[in-house]
């Protein structure tokens, strides 16, 4: 599931192509590659200023050409849609994160190694799982993000983003499946993205 992994990273990062790396290549090879993925997520944000974490759960859909549906169900329902050109939230159209289009193309190829341009990557590959640690190269990004930790097996299972200011975001993915086609509800959500 390399494609979804990258789509997610786009939420916070800027990426570009780089060179191949052995560990990356091996991990890439293990990932399930399909144009469509969906599942459930649990997101936990720990902000220093708050005494308890902000926990939300919901479902996600990744489609190779259409983009991502991020549907938060608890504690309050909300919908976020994003593709290479548009980002729509409950508060209307927003700016699309940097380099999204570029990465989006990389998604189609499913090459994790494109991450090396923007990040120094160290990783370990074990029998049943793998782990990658990303540290930003870009000076601007370094001021915000200290590390990103990715864990997975044949799918990406967890993403952990450590910010310089001490805030932490952790997103876990479960019940990942690869259906053949979109449901009609997913279809209509994606239609809102490309008016």
């Amino acid at each position: 599931m390399p494609t979804f992994l990258k789509a997610l990273l786009l939420f916070v990062l800027s990426l570009d192509q780089g060179y191949a790396d052995e560990v990356l290549a091996k991990i890439t090879a293990r990932l399930v590659k399909t144009p469509l993925a969906e599942g459930r997520f649990q997101q936990e944000k720990r902000l220093k200023i708050l005494r308890k974490p902000l926990i939300s759960t919901g479902t996600f859909t990744y489609h190779q050409s259409k983009g991502v549906i991020w549907k938060t169900l608890t504690p309050m329902p909300s919908l976020l849609l994003v593709n290479e050109a548009h980002l729509v939230t409950g508060q209307g159209e927003q700016a699309v994160p940097p380099a999204f289009g570029n990465v989006f193309k990389a998604l189609l190829g499913g090459e994790l190694n494109r991450l090396t341009e923007s990040f120094d990557i160290t990783g370990k590959e074990q029998k049943s799982s793998w782990q990658l640690q990303l540290t930003p190269k870009d000076e601007l990004l370094k001021k915000v993000i200290s590390t990103i930790l990715l864990t997975g097996d044949t799918e990406l299972r967890q993403l952990e983003l450590q910010e310089v200011n001490g805030n932490l975001t952790r997103i876990g993915f479960t019940q990942i499946t690869h259906p053949d086609h979109l449901s009609s509800e997913q279809q209509s959500d994606f239609e809102r993205l490309s008016p």
Binding site: S14, Q17, L50, R51, K52, W70, V96, P98, N167, T169
Partner: protein, 789 residues
Amino acid sequence: MNVYHPKVTAGLWLAIILAIAALGSQLLTKDWLETGFLALLPASEQQPEIAKAIQQHNELLNRKVIWLTGAANSKTAIAKARQLKQQLEKSRLFSSILLELPQQKMAKQYQQLFPYRYQLLDAQTKRTLASHPKDLLTQNLETLYSPMGQIMAADLEHDPLLLFSRYFNAQNPIKLAVEQGVVVLRDTNKFWALLLTDLEDSHLQLDKLETLLTLVDMANTQVQETGGELMVTGMPLFTARGSDSAKQEISTVGVGSSVGIIILLLLTFRSLRPLLLSSLAIASGLFAALVVSVVVFGKIHIITLVFGASLIGVADDYAIHFVCDSFGAKNWKPREGLRYIFPGLLIGLLTNLLSYVGLVFSPFPGLQEVALFSAIGLLVAWLTVVLLFPLLLTGFKPDHKPVILKVANYWQQHWPIWLLKNRRWLIPLLVIFIVGGLWQLSPRDDVRLLQSAPSDLMKTADKIKQLLPMSQENQFFLVSGRDLNDWHQNEQRLLEQLKLLTQQHKLTLYQGLSDYWPDQRSQQMNYQLLDKTLYQSGLLKRYMTELGFSNTAINSELKQFADAKTKSIALPDWLATADETKQHLWLGCDPNRCLSMVSLTGITGLSALSSLQNLQGVAWVDQVEQLSSLFARYRVKVSTLLTGAYLLVFVGFGLRFGWRNALAIISIPIIATLVSLAMMGWFNQLFSLFNLFALLLVLGIGIDDAVFFFMADNSGKSAAANDENKRASISLAVTLSALTTLLAFGLLAVSPTEIVHAFGFTVAAGIFTALVCSPLVGHRDKQHDNRHL
């Protein structure tokens, strides 16, 4: 007539010209050329505040050049933009070159405005608070819980309600993707890095414009060589290309017509003298016209210059009639020649001056200027012919019979006979042609026809507009109020309507200061609104508690809010933090009123927008539309005046020569004018104000042609044979004057610029018709000795 000695009169001429030159040497060093179109409006309609707004608006547009470097990925696009930036810096053409967003400036702005976050609410937040304050909290939670909310979450510590984040984001309504601090736009398969530049000054000097064009070409080659693409747009580029093509056009047509005229006159006279003399006459006329107009009006408009100069072309007639007369007598002497043609010249001059009288009394300053300019120009050119030529033509006597003289003579003898013989079918045909043509004639006053922008530039501009929907339109609103308060209310009312229009997709974007800076009263109201809806009601406390803020944090927030109660930020302080685009929206206050602009982007419903000018204190400024309607009004006015001129000339001739003769003479320019108009109709030509100036030229030359033929026929007791000689030399003069006019102005018909083409076409059709018809005047049918039309 005894004082009429060539040397005396030449001295007189020199004195006049020297006096004008002395005057000119003082005046023309100042700024004497007016280009703003508002100066063409009748004085009662000129509104200085609109002029100021337009000037400010244009000044900004006239400096902006937008560059986009394209590549297959964003990194390469940005790298190319950085290279381009260096190249542009070296050129020293620009006062500002913006590639990376000014992060320090934005951070500074953030810090300066942050203390006023309870007073500075954006329009959307205000609406939400006023209707459903809880929604604001829900939206905050959505943001915080979303995977995208990192940056917002970082603000939470200082601004738990995210009020200032909202306000700050609302200031930049277009959401642009930023990478490495550079704005990157996305095309279907390309990435474009954005570079914004401002030219050093908005007064576009031609040499600078050329440097700009060269720079664009160089940058283009450089970017393309490395496999990238470059798109550039901006007003300066249009101006540069426009003046470039106009220059080229004028020089091509100019060279063509000069060569034609030189060859024609050389072949006819086998001497350079006639050519030099007629150039001298026209040059003196132009110079005197310029100086006198500047004395009278202070400044003259570029339109005056263009059309006035064209009308002075009639003066060519005087010179040619004079020199052609040398073929009309055996021992021709300039003084005697002048004596013979003087009545014709005088009548020609008086007719032309008469036809400008009407223009002087029109309320339009442009027409008054044209009238005075042309009148002075003609008068001085005429004086040059009458006063100076006798001396300079001394000894001029061509002893050859040029072919063109023979042709012209043969033609003037036989052509009218043929015309008269066939009048049974020629006249109905002419009537049908004229009526049919006039039927199809419809005016087009659209000012956009004036400038024909190169299509490649237009294409690039359109593409950039699609990628980057932020370029301002030509149209804008002007909002005024008695004081800041009143202005603020008026602008807010307008912005509410504009908001509706954006929802109806009649407009993409608008920018008005009052959305960003609430006036003192609104600042207090914003604070009170927050106080009532979130703070007093306990909603804030509950929201913060539920989110997990500590009690200390909650109390600190409450205290900060309480402390900020009396805070307010004044407009000048706010403007100091704003970017240039926003600063330009403010036009200032004087004791009586305050004034601002509201800029617009992506207009699709023009009429819906213009109808908003009914709101209090709101004026709609549409330069294109206003200029077009101005041209339409000028056209109607000049049409009336042209008709008036014909009547005046007719009455003058009637009193002098009898009504029947007057009718014969005036019928020549009338037919020429009608045929010219009909031709425009048949060939679907542009018909606007500019054609009418061409028709004034047709009137002047047509009358001259007819009068000279008439005078040849009525030159007193001279023998019939001599008469025929005179008719021959006059037909030569008429032919030569028609041909030179056709070469000088008719050639403009080949211009691809529609307006120039229209002018040339009108002159060509009219002059040719006048040439064809004029021998009918005073033509004697030898058998019956009857005069026909």
